[in-house]
Symmetry: C2
């Protein structure tokens, strides 16, 4: 038995030796995921050590994530990384993309190779700012961010109606979610998310050890009755929503649902974390832009705005508007996270918004993306509608497709398409329990022009033809 | 009694109404910090509600931090912000500094008004990078960071001996600590810190709900015997150290202590988080630069390097070297924190290090800071040695002074000096329990030239003259 291989020396406490051996065996699959470990009594007898020593070793295995306990049954091995296997597989895709070989179709939108922002404009802005502000651009700002940028944001996007002290500059929306999570969510707090939802937010809440409830997304936002049922039985701290072009489903909230949810927030005392990540890209006149934050009479919305997709991806910038009650919590959270956001880029963004290049560029982007949107819509309709169901998002950068029949898992489809150099995002990335996303996938056109869209969808069609006609 | 003021309506659950009322009274000091709340039975009778309703209200107060329980005694009110009062007071100082009125002496070094980096060099670098890389500078990088920068760091500082995949670019050292904490520290894990230590690290560990042990700093590093005593009785996950010019004490670790601590890390299976924040600034030949990471044969050191103080404060940049075993954890943690660090700045830093401006600038900085160091040393010696004890740090940017007699608290001294426009950092900022830092303070010369140093220390002397001669 492997127990004989454990050697005790004077260099280390005995429980550590036992822990290291078992950990090693689990990692090398000599003890398999889910295997029962020897009982404490048995192992202590075999090794001729005190029971406490074995208990300590098992405790350490547990705290490091290599074992878990079933009450009344014993301790079981757990392969730590088993859950991350797919995420790792998915990430490999981006290494291919980064290799500069452009011979693929990237429907994931996770990295950026193509950029619609004119580099000469950017150079001009940077130099104007450097000439104007001199050494100042190298100084650090207050944790809130560069004041003129916060004023400009308030003026350009909020008609100066927000308190300046509630506007906080962050290094992108992901940081916004992280800061928010650290500021208001404690261990075991209940958080509600949309089902499906953005994986990057799910990870943050999980790491914060929140209890996560998922509420089904419908065509006009989450199932509000389902939400209220949860609210009646649990104290909820926060609800995380993407109000426009929800990731991945593409759903936007109706005005009615937004108002209902705000009323519930007030009634049941919870906060709404609104992730507004690309509401600028609306392609259909019928859709009006009214974020939760604009309707927020109770001061219950934490608004997070990303500029990554619509300004510059490599320049990590975004902002948040916090309820007044949390102002100090958020400030402390930002301070603990990275002190403050890069100064020069804040100044560049301020210059850019103020001098109206902003609107120009959004128009340019909208025009190009609308063309792609129309193309993708048409191509899906023509080629894939036999196999998939979907709703038109009316804006944004993605389509969310559900396989009608259960003949292939989204992971399998992802892997097969990757072989053909077409990259999609399988649904499992968007659910708390991965198997829920097994029949859906997301394709987007952030990094694919009209020609690439046609090429990619043709390949998806060929793959599905093969699956469904066998 | 205030109980009468609670009105129940159909809009909200009863327990929320009770919670809101009590919370409001605590915030407005109508119920004071530490006051006992009515017993559950009494309140349920007075309000004519179920006991469960009151229990739920009290639970919510507790989970929101407005109340705490004493076993066998009852529930007590807690004013949430009471602990942050001083930190807020301290922060106000920086608002004065930011007001652009230069008529003060800033010994805190917490903000930057003066910069020793030539703006024309910076402009040149930025433009060279923009011309060289074009649109590429606007693209986002892999989460690891810009590969050529990581190679350059490996080459310039580590003789190419580190694995590239273990080098991770971060947005400053504070982010490094946060990412590290999220990657390896779980709730209730034990973390050891130096006593005193950097407040920004303490906050991060506290927010992560770690159990914090403090170990006294001696003249050549922490008390290693004290550390081993803790290691024998507790499973420690990590030890956070600043190997050079420890903040605030200015202590650097002896080679012997570093080796001992590394051996202990291997023996007791913990990790060393090494925060190397300004080791470039060594003013005395007798001090040699050998960080823990250079001695790290067991791969037990998480190395965090900040460039804020020695490159550009407004440009948040730093890097980490992770043990191979944690590579994926750190990557995921960075991804969840802010996806990646600003691209243009990474390219600028790479250009800057590679083209040797780096060494030039460090020499320039060292020369200026050494002058200030000598001046501050002399001025303290001449003016304050009657009242304070201190060790020469031999490098860095700060002196740590301990009051010999207990006639004034460091907070009181801070407040009085602020009136005179001299800003110091009171010792309480560096301890887990604030009262431990009541007799010490830190003064630094990051933002004070030779003349300001003389002026500031003269004012500290006058203040202490008044205190000690009354």
């Amino acid at each position: 038995m492997w127990v004989d291989e454990i050697k005790f020396t004077e260099n280390r406490p005995k429980y550590i030796e036992i822990y290291l051996k078992i950990k090693d065996m689990i990692e090398n699959e000599l003890i398999e995921d889910g295997d029962k470990l020897p009982t404490i009594r048995k192992l202590s007898e075999e090794l001729n050590v005190n029971k406490i020593t074995v208990i300590n070793a098992y405790k350490k295995l547990q705290s490091e994530g290599y074992a878990y306990q079933k009450i009344g049954s014993g301790t079981y091995a757990k392969r730590k990384e088993i859950n991350f296997n797919f995420r790792r597989e998915y990430s490999k895709t981006f290494k291919i993309i980064e290799s500069k070989n452009y011979n693929f179709v990237d429907f994931t939108g996770e990295t950026t190779k193509e950029i619609l922002f004119p580099i000469k404009d950017f150079k001009e802005i940077i130099n104007k700012v450097l000439d104007r502000d001199g050494e100042e651009v190298l100084l650090s700002h207050s944790t809130f961010g560069y004041k003129p940028l916060r004023s400009t944001i308030n003026n350009a996007f909020w008609k100066n109606k927000k308190e300046l002290e509630n506007i906080l500059i962050v290094s992108g929306a992901q940081q916004g979610i992280d800061i928010c999570s650290k500021a208001i969510i404690n261990i075991n707090d209940n958080v509600v998310v949309e089902k499906p939802t953005y994986g990057g937010a799910l990870s943050v809440f999980k790491w914060r050890k929140a209890n996560i409830f998922e509420i089904q997304i419908e065509d006009d936002g989450i199932d509000v009755e389902g939400l209220e049922k949860i609210l009646k039985n649990h104290r909820i701290k926060a609800l995380y929503v993407m109000s426009y072009f929800q990731n991945p489903t593409g759903v936007s909230y109706s005005l009615e649902k937004k108002k209902k949810i705000l009323d519930l927030a007030n009634k049941y005392d919870f906060y709404i974390i609104e992730d507004d990540y690309l509401s600028e890209l609306i392609y259909e006149q019928t859709l009006e832009y009214v974020p939760f934050k604009k309707l927020d009479i109770y001061d219950r919305v934490i608004y997070i705005k990303s500029f990554s997709k619509i300004f510059l991806p490599g320049i990590r910038l975004g902002y948040m508007i916090t309820p007044t009650i949390f102002r100090e919590n958020f400030l402390k959270s930002k301070l603990n996270t990275d002190i403050s956001t890069s100064s020069l880029m804040q100044r560049a963004l301020e210059y850019y918004i103020k001098n109206c290049k902003w609107k120009e560029n959004i128009l340019l982007l909208s025009k190009e993306y609308k063309k792609r949107y129309k193309t993708m819509d048409k191509e899906i309709e023509k080629n894939l509608s036999k196999y998939v169901e979907y709703k038109k998002p009316k804006g944004g950068l993605n389509f969310y497709l559900k396989l009608k029949e259960d003949k292939i898992s989204s992971i399998e489809l992802f892997l097969r398409l990757r072989e053909k150099k077409v990259f999609i995002t399988p649904g499992i990335m968007f659910f708390k329990n991965k198997k829920d996303g097994d029949k859906s996938f997301r394709i987007g056109f952030f990094q694919t022009d009209v020609e690439k869209i046609k090429e990619g969808i043709k390949k998806i069609k060929e793959e599905l033809d093969g699956v469904y006609n066998n």
